[in-house]
Assembly symmetry: C2
Homo-oligomer: 232 residues x 2
DNA sequence: TATAAAAGTTAGATAGGTCTAACAAATTAT
DNA sequence: ATAATTTGTTAGACCTATCTAACTTTTATA
């Protein structure tokens, strides 16, 4: 049985490797700053995780997950995202409140509980922030998506997820009146000050990179953007 | 913020005082055996709880809860019983499975979460084992009830709760086919071997004190048995 | 009431997870 | 290729919650 802390390390490792484009290992310092602990603490902990064959690691080397560690970390993320969905769908919490509560709920271990919850929610594919929910085997299909900053003027795209799950960001998105599934048109990109002008349902928004760097999109015409040759 | 462990001590104290007829304090040894730790451990912990003004205690004396400790303990019990209700009502867990899961869930702290859950469940009064659920202020009304062993031959009573929440007991009750809200008639009590013969919906059951000592009942005629002068 | 039994306390140890401070290795830059 | 910087490790400490073993106080009993 993994401890609360061990689970958090594994979850962080999944997030810093699998969920990060083109990385499958991470250094001690980076993991430490992600978890908000000192590198010394990570050094110790990683030795423990290695002894449990959850990570691959050699002194002064990089940290990566073993298949067992990968699955364990994924299961924590599955639990987190299912609880977030429950909190929003059933208990009417807003999308900026669910993350913090799910940080606690994700450590309830019962496999049966989480599978029943999955069923109760009718097997959701995405959590309130648009992130895919790993299945009962810890597998996940991350749909093709791009960052809004990469879109070009003239592109018509659809918001499908947020990258920054902080309540500040989510409340800002709520405040300006945009949400997941909204279709937006890129009207202009100003290089000088990096502001982007977008339009959704006839309303215009001028947004900074703080917004555009943290919004995941797909081309609106061809939702399977992989096979799409449009510029978006 | 109380730790997981501190909460368990407070919960145990409520159960050994408030929920125990005519007791408002408890000794170190009894609390230790209830929590399945050594008396030395309780000795230490109680000093800590006293420093936080959660319990009253003097060296070699008895332990009792302060008003703050009482309320905190009650809130843990409220959370436990609401989660049990959720697990049974919404996720279709059986009454012998819910206790163990609720032992973990009860330590999720958010007040808002638990009040939303309460609302989602339509403000249940009793948990799956028939125990009253404390309200948002930590208050509880324990309805008048008696132990089945106290009933006399000829009495007609209604099962309203179980005393023993172990899955062994609950599975036994399921197996013989009885449940909460069933009306039963005491047909005979045999002093020699302490067996009781009861009848529910025309079916006869012969049960031992292991059953009769762990079933709470009220007189079936006058559900508010307090004002009833019948022998049940 | 003296003594045996029960109940409770204290000291010292362990394990998990964290820290700081001092050091060592690896990488980058001059 | 040597120095400077970044990165990572080790040792020693602390806190929480637990234990065992030895001791003390209280209570019950002969």
């Amino acid at each position: 049985m993994l401890s609360f802390t061990e689970e958090n390390y594994l979850k962080a490792l999944v997030q810093l490797t699998t969920f990060e484009e083109g990385k499958d290992e991470v250094g001690v310092n980076k993991l430490a700053s992600y978890l908000d602990v000192k590198p010394a603490t990570v050094s110790d902990m990683v030795r423990k995780l290695k002894a449990k064959t959850l990570v691959n690691y050699e002194k002064y080397g990089k940290i990566s997950l073993t298949p067992v560690g990968q699955k364990s970390g994924m299961m924590v993320i599955r639990r987190h995202r299912l609880w977030e969905t429950f909190l929003q769908e059933k208990l009417d919490f807003s999308w900026d409140e669910v993350h913090e509560l799910a940080e606690e709920l994700e450590h309830i271990h019962s496999q049966k509980l989480i599978n029943r919850l999955d069923q109760f929610l009718d097997f959701p594919e995405f959590d309130p922030h648009g992130d895919a929910i790993p299945n009962a085997d810890g597998e996940i299909v991350i749909p093709f998506r791009k960052i809004l900053s990469e879109a070009q003027a003239g592109d018509v795209v659809k918001i499908i997820a947020v990258k920054d799950n902080s309540s500040e960001f989510l409340q800002y998105v709520d405040k300006i009146g945009l949400s997941i599934q909204d279709e937006i048109t890129i009207e202009a990109k100003e290089e000088f000050d990096s502001l982007t002008t977008i339009n959704s349902k006839g309303k215009q928004y001028v947004v900074s990179p703080k917004f555009t760097d943290n919004i995941f999109i797909v081309c609106a015409k061809c939702l399977k953007a992989k096979d799409c040759n449009c510029t978006s």
